[in-house]
C-alpha cells in the first residue's frame, strides 16, 4: 500500500516536476524508487559527545532532489545530525558516531572515507553568514580554486553562474573586488550559498540559514531555496515552523535526540501522528 503510494508519487513528480507534495510517504520507508532515491540514508545512526548521546539510533532516508526540513526544540540533535552528514562534527574532539550513514552508497563514517572529497559533494551553509574576509570574487572562487580551477576565464564564469543561482549577481556584479564583509547580512548569506554552489555539490545542508537575518532577507533566502528545489538535495534545519512548512517537501521532527516523526511536510503539520509532534507544532513547548 505504501509502496504504491511512493510509486505513484514518483510517476507524478516525473510528469509534473517535483512540485507534487500531496502524496503520503511513510517515515520508515526503506527503498523508494526513482524520484525518491535515497541520497543519504541513516541506519541505527547515533552521535555521541563523550558519553552523551545527542542523536539516538536514527534510521531514515533523505530523498534525492527534495527539500527536507529538520525541526525540533533547541538541543534536540537536529544540527548535530545535519553536521554529521558532511562530517563537520569532526571538529569537535569528543564527538563520535555509531551505526551507518551512507551517502551515494558510500559510508560517510567509513574508515577509508576521505572527508575532504566528501565535503566537496556535500555543501553547507551555516547559521551565521561567514564569508571570508576577502573580495567577493575570491570568496566564490575559493572552492573552485581549491579543486584545481586556475583559468581566470573559467573562474569568472563559475563566479557569475553561482552568483546568478544565488540571486545575488545583479546586486554585486559591479563590486566583485570589494571585501565581502561589506555586504549586508542577507547578501552575505546568499554569498555563502553561492560560494557553496560554486563547488557544484550534490547536497546542500542549510543550518538555520535565516536565524540571523531580518524578515526581508529571510524571504530572499526562501525564494532562493525555491529556485534551487529540484536541482539539489536540500536539508534545512530551522527553528521557524512556518519556514519549514513553506519551503520543505518533507519534515523530520527531532526531540531529545530521537527522530520522532518523519513525513511529508503537509501531513506532519496538519495531521501529526505523534502527540509530541503535535504539542511542538502547536506551540505547547518549544
Amino acid at each position: 500500500m505504501q509502496m504504491t503510494a511512493v510509486e505513484k508519487e514518483a510517476q507524478t513528480s516525473a510528469a509534473a516536476g517535483s512540485s507534487n507534495r500531496e502524496i503520503f510517504l511513510p517515515p520508515e520507508r526503506q527503498r523508494i524508487k526513482d524520484g525518491g532515491t535515497p541520497h543519504v540514508s541513516a541506519k541505527n545512526f547515533s552521535i555521541f559527545y563523550g558519553n552523551f548521546e545527542a542523536v539516538k539510533k536514527v534510521t531514515a532516508d533523505i530523498l534525492s532532489k527534495y527539500v527536507t526540513a529538520i525541526i525540533g526544540p533547541s538541543g534536540c540533535g537536529k544540527s548535530t545530525f545535519l553536521r554529521a552528514i558532511n562530517r563537520m562534527n569532526d571538529l569537535i574532539p569528543s564527538c563520535y558516531a555509531t551505526g551507518t550513514l551512507m551517502f551515494d552508497g558510500e559510508d560517510i563514517y567509513g574508515r577509508y572515507t576521505d572527508e575532504v572529497q566528501l565535503r566537496k559533494k556535500i555543501g553547507m551553509v551555516f547559521q551565521k553568514p561567514n564569508p571570508f574576509p576577502k573580495p567577493i570574487f575570491d570568496n566564490i572562487a575559493y572552492g573552485p580554486r581549491l579543486h584545481g580551477v586556475k583559468d581566470k576565464k573559467t573562474l569568472e564564469e563559475i563566479v557569475e553562474k553561482s552568483l546568478r543561482k544565488a540571486a545575488l549577481w545583479d546586486e554585486v556584479k559591479d563590486r566583485l573586488d570589494r571585501n565581502a564583509l561589506g555586504l549586508s547580512g542577507g547578501q552575505q548569506q546568499r554569498l555563502c550559498v553561492a560560494r557553496t554552489l560554486a563547488v557544484e555539490p550534490d547536497i546542500l545542508l542549510l543550518d538555520e540559514p535565516t536565524s540571523a537575518l531580518d524578515p526581508k532577507a529571510t524571504a530572499k533566502i526562501e525564494d532562493l531555496i525555491e529556485e534551487l528545489r529540484g536541482s539539489y538535495t536540500i536539508l534545512i534545519v530551522t527553528h521557524n515552523m512556518q519556514q519549514a512548512s513553506r519551503v520543505s517537501d518533507y519534515t523530520m521532527f527531532y526531540y531529545e535526540g530521537d527522530l520522532i516523526e518523519y513525513a511529508p511536510t503537509k501531513q506532519l503539520f496538519t495531521n501529526p501522528r505523534d502527540q509530541v509532534t503535535e504539542d511542538y507544532i502547536t506551540g505547547r513547548f518549544s
Partner: protein
C-alpha cells in the same frame, strides 16, 4: 552594601586608579625628558672649529675653504697664546730654581687645559691617540676647559663636622708679575675667536663610525649591529614560533604531552635573560660551535630562543581569535586542513601575528644580557653582512652600559651615551609604531 557606601567605594577606586596612572606618566616623563634632551645634544650642539677640522680630516665632510679660512682666523688669536707661552718658558728658565718650582705644577695645569682646548701645543710631541690630536670639539666642553684654566680648585676642610667644600681661586694669582699673567684675561676675552663655535647639526652621529672608541664620531656600528642581531633573531624565531603556534592551536591533541609543552613554553618566557646569555655561550658557541667565538649568528640564535615564547603566544592568541566560522566555511567547501590554515586562518590572524613579531623584534633589539657572552664587543668596526657568521659586533644595548660604566673617559662622552639611548628608544618606538600601523592597515583590509 547600601548605595552610599558603594558610591564612595567607586569614587575612591577611581581616585586610586587615576593616581597610579598619573604616577606612571610622571615616571615616564622623568625618564624620557633627560634622555631626549641629552640625546639630542649628540646631534644638535655648538661645535667648535676643532669639530669641523676633525670632520674634514677624518670623514671628509665640510667645506675645505671655509674651514681653512676659519683655521687661519683662529690661529691668529691662538698664536698670541703660543707666543705668551714661549715667553713664559724663557722667563721660567731664567728664574731661581725654587721660584720656578713653585710655578711649574700650576703651569703644567695651564698647558694641559690649553692642549685640551687647542690640541697639541707647539713643542709637544705628536700624540698617537686621535683624542689628543684635536682640541675640544664641543663648545660646552671648551667652556669647562677654560674654567679649569682660569681657576684652581681648592677644598675647604675648616669645619670638621661638615663635608669638605670645593671652592675656586683664580689661577692668575699664581702667576702675578710674570709674563703669563696676561694670558688669563686674554683667554677669557678671546675664547670665542679661538674656537669659533657654531650651531651644528651633526647627522653623522647616526651614520658615522666611531673614532677612538667613541670619543669622536658616531654610532653607526652599534646601530647596524643591533639591526643585524634583532633581524637575525627574527629570521630564526618567527617561522619557528608561528609553526609552533599552528601546531598548538590546530594539531596538538589535548593530552599530557601537550600540556607539558605548553608549560615549558610559559616557563621559557619567564627565564631571566642572563640565563639565555649563558645558555647561548654554553650551547651555541661551546657545544655546537656555530662560530669560533662570539659572533652575530650566536647572538641572534640566543635572542631567538629568548623571544620564541612571546612569538608563539602572540601567534597562538591571534590564531585562536580567528572566528571558527571561517574554518568551518573553508572545510565545508572541501578544503584540507593545511590549505585552510594557509589560505584562511593565517591571513586572518596576520595582524596579531605581526604585532607579536614586531614587539619581539623590539625586545630583541633592546636586550643586553643575552648578547654579552655571545655577540657583543665594546669597540669594534662596522661589520659587513658576510661577517655575521664569524665576527662579533658592537650593539646599542651593550655599548650604552659599557660607555656609561667602563669607558675610561665616561665623563667626557655623556652626549654619546645619551645619543645611543635615544637611538635605541627611537628604534624600539619606531618598531612598535610600525606594528600599530601595519596592524591597523591589515585589519582595515580584512574588515573591508
Amino acid at each position: 552594601m547600601d548605595l552610599g557606601t558603594r558610591k564612595i567605594l567607586d569614587r575612591s577606586f577611581t581616585a586610586v586608579g587615576i593616581t597610579s596612572i598619573l604616577l606612571m606618566a610622571a615616571a615616564l616623563l622623568v625618564v624620557i625628558v633627560p634622555i631626549f634632551s641629552g640625546g639630542i645634544g649628540a646631534i644638535f650642539f655648538k661645535g667648535t672649529i676643532e669639530h669641523r677640522k676633525l670632520q674634514y680630516n677624518e670623514f671628509g665632510n665640510g667645506d675645505k675653504e671655509v674651514m681653512q679660512r676659519q683655521i687661519e682666523e683662529t690661529n691668529a688669536y691662538r698664536s698670541r697664546v703660543f707666543a705668551m707661552l714661549g715667553e713664559f718658558d724663557a722667563e721660567l728658565e731664567s728664574m731661581e730654581p725654587a721660584e720656578s718650582k713653585a710655578l711649574r705644577s700650576s703651569y703644567k695645569k695651564v698647558r694641559e687645559a690649553l692642549a685640551h682646548l687647542f690640541g697639541p701645543l707647539p713643542g709637544d710631541p705628536e700624540p698617537i691617540l686621535t683624542r689628543y690630536q684635536y682640541g675640544t670639539t664641543r663648545w660646552e666642553q671648551a667652556e669647562e676647559a677654560l674654567h679649569d684654566l682660569m681657576y684652581v680648585s681648592k677644598w675647604d676642610y675648616s669645619d670638621p663636622t661638615q663635608m669638605a667644600k670645593q671652592y675656586f681661586v683664580p689661577r692668575t694669582d699664581d702667576f702675578k708679575g710674570t709674563k703669563l699673567a696676561a694670558l688669563f684675561p686674554y683667554m677669557e676675552e678671546n675664547l670665542v675667536n679661538m674656537m669659533l663655535p657654531e650651531q651644528t647639526f651633526y647627522w653623522g652621529f647616526i651614520t658615522d663610525r666611531s673614532l677612538d672608541s667613541h670619543i669622536f664620531g658616531g654610532i653607526w656600528a652599534e646601530i647596524q649591529g643591533t639591526f643585524f642581531l634583532a633581524v637575525g633573531a627574527m629570521l630564526f624565531a618567527f617561522p619557528l614560533g608561528v609553526t609552533a603556534a599552528i601546531y598548538f592551536t590546530e594539531y596538538a591533541k589535548d593530552n599530557i604531552f601537550t600540556s607539558i609543552l605548553r608549560s615549558a613554553n610559559s616557563t621559557l618566557a619567564g627565564v631571566p635573560s642572563i640565563v639565555f646569555g649563558l645558555f647561548g655561550l654554553a650551547f651555541f658557541i661551546n657545544t655546537i660551535k656555530v662560530s669560533e667565538s662570539k659572533s652575530v649568528i650566536a647572538g641572534s640564535l640566543t635572542l631567538a630562543i629568548m623571544i620564541l615564547p612571546t612569538i608563539i603566544r602572540a601567534a597562538e592568541e591571534a590564531i585562536l581569535a580567528v572566528p571558527k566560522t571561517y574554518k568551518e566555511a573553508s572545510l565545508s567547501l572541501g578544503s584540507t586542513k593545511w590549505r585552510t590554515i594557509v589560505t584562511v586562518i593565517l591571513p586572518a590572524a596576520l595582524p596579531g601575528i605581526i604585532t607579536g613579531g614586531i614587539i619581539s623584534l623590539g625586545r630583541a633589539a633592546g636586550e643586553t644580557a643575552p648578547i654579552i657572552f655571545t655577540a657583543a664587543v665594546s669597540v669594534g668596526a662596522t661589520i659587513g653582512l658576510a661577517d655575521v657568521f664569524s665576527s662579533p659586533t658592537p650593539a646599542l644595548s651593550w655599548n650604552i652600559y659599557n660607555l656609561a660604566s667602563e669607558h675610561e673617559a665616561a665623563n667626557e662622552i655623556r652626549h654619546v651615551q645619551y645619543g645611543m639611548v635615544l637611538a635605541l628608544i627611537s628604534i624600539v618606538l619606531l618598531l612598535n609604531l610600525s606594528a600599530i600601523l601595519l596592524r591597523a592597515r591589515i585589519s582595515k583590509k580584512l574588515k573591508g
